[in-house]
């Protein structure tokens, strides 16, 4: 009743289904966003799938940093702090990844992004 081609069909369909799951998990078609906080308070949330540049300003309107979202990744492209460590931290895209600018008290964290190798950190 069942032919060789049937078995081949089932197996290839199953493989495709599994492949699909992997593709979705790693290319972050999922979306996700970055949450920016300034001095411990919510500054804003920005989706990772929209390429933008966010200029972060303090309450008094003083320019602090610029966050760039491109290709579903976020990185700090400009900072008014003296050391610029936040820019050196590079790109983030996985859940729980962060960019921190201590002098300007800015924290950028990825929410709902692609799966991180580390899912939780005990402290």
């Amino acid at each position: 009743m069942l032919k060789k081609a049937d078995i081949a069909l089932f197996i290839s369909l199953l493989l495709f289904a599994v492949l699909f799951i992997f593709i979705f998990d790693f290319t972050n078609i999922n979306g996700g966003s970055v949450a920016v906080s300034l001095e411990g308070m919510r500054y804003g949330s920005y989706p990772l799938d929209k390429d933008t540049i966010i200029d972060i300003k303090s309450k008094e309107g003083i320019y602090l940093n610029s966050l760039e979202i491109k290709n579903s990744k976020a990185r700090m492209i400009h900072a008014s702090c003296p050391d610029g460590y936040c820019i050196k931290q590079g790109e983030i895209s996985h859940s729980h990844d962060t960019i921190v600018c201590l002098p300007n008290k800015i924290i950028v964290e990825v929410i709902n992004g692609s799966k991180n190798k580390v899912d939780a950190v005990s402290q």
């Binding site: 009743m1 069942l2 032919k3 060789k4 081609a5 049937d6 069909l9 089932f10 369909l13 199953l14 495709f16 289904a17 599994v18 699909f20 799951i21 979705f24 078609i29 999922n30 979306g31």
Partner: protein, 179 residues
């Protein structure tokens, strides 16, 4: 009886009438059945039993006529215009896949049925993703593939045994299945 299976016009009309009615009832039964899985688009596809029977008894043209008619009438009766559009999307892809699958002669009836089930789901989810313009819907594809395989195999099994009985009991030349 191989070769040309086109019968007289009145025969065709009667055939299409009977099987369209069966397919509509099958769709109705499916609507009544409680849905085991809450995922949208996961369905048994009982009407496909009828379509497969038509395909193997009288060929693609008749099966297409039955399929198209039952989608329209079923939609008018039960699910409304948007239901018809989604059913057409799924039914079109499903019919094309089953027809091609049967024509190239490497699949058994079960394989053809699985092709029909999976492609029906794919057609519907693609249309939904376009209509809603949301790519996150495509997340459902793996689930729909797996459920398509399982339900397709199950429906195919039923169609297979039904076809066997039909040919066994009615030893008339015009009920021998085309291969």
């Amino acid at each position: 009886m191989k070769g040309n299976i086109l019968m007289s016009k009145s025969h065709n009309i009667a055939f299409i009438g009977i099987f369209t009615a069966l397919a509509i009832v099958a769709g109705y039964i499916e609507r009544i059945l409680p849905s085991l899985v809450p995922v949208p688009g996961v369905k048994l596809g009982i009407a496909n039993i009828i379509i497969i029977l038509c395909l193997y008894l009288r060929g693609g043209r008749m099966a297409l006529a039955v399929n198209f008619t039952r989608i329209i009438v079923s939609g008018l009766l039960f699910s409304g215009l948007s239901g018809i559009i989604y059913a057409l999307a799924g039914g079109a892809l499903s019919f094309i896949s089953m027809y091609i699958g049967k024509r190239i002669k490497i699949f058994s009836l079960i394989g053809v049925s699985v092709l029909g089930g999976v492609s029906h789901n794919m057609g519907q989810i693609f249309l939904a993703a376009i209509v809603v313009w949301n790519i996150k819907l495509l997340y459902y594809i793996p689930v729909l593939i797996i459920s398509g395989i399982i339900t397709g195999a199950f429906i195919g099994l039923i169609a297979w045994y039904t076809l066997g009985r039909l040919c066994q009991y009615y030893h008339l030349p015009d009920t021998k299945p085309m291969n």
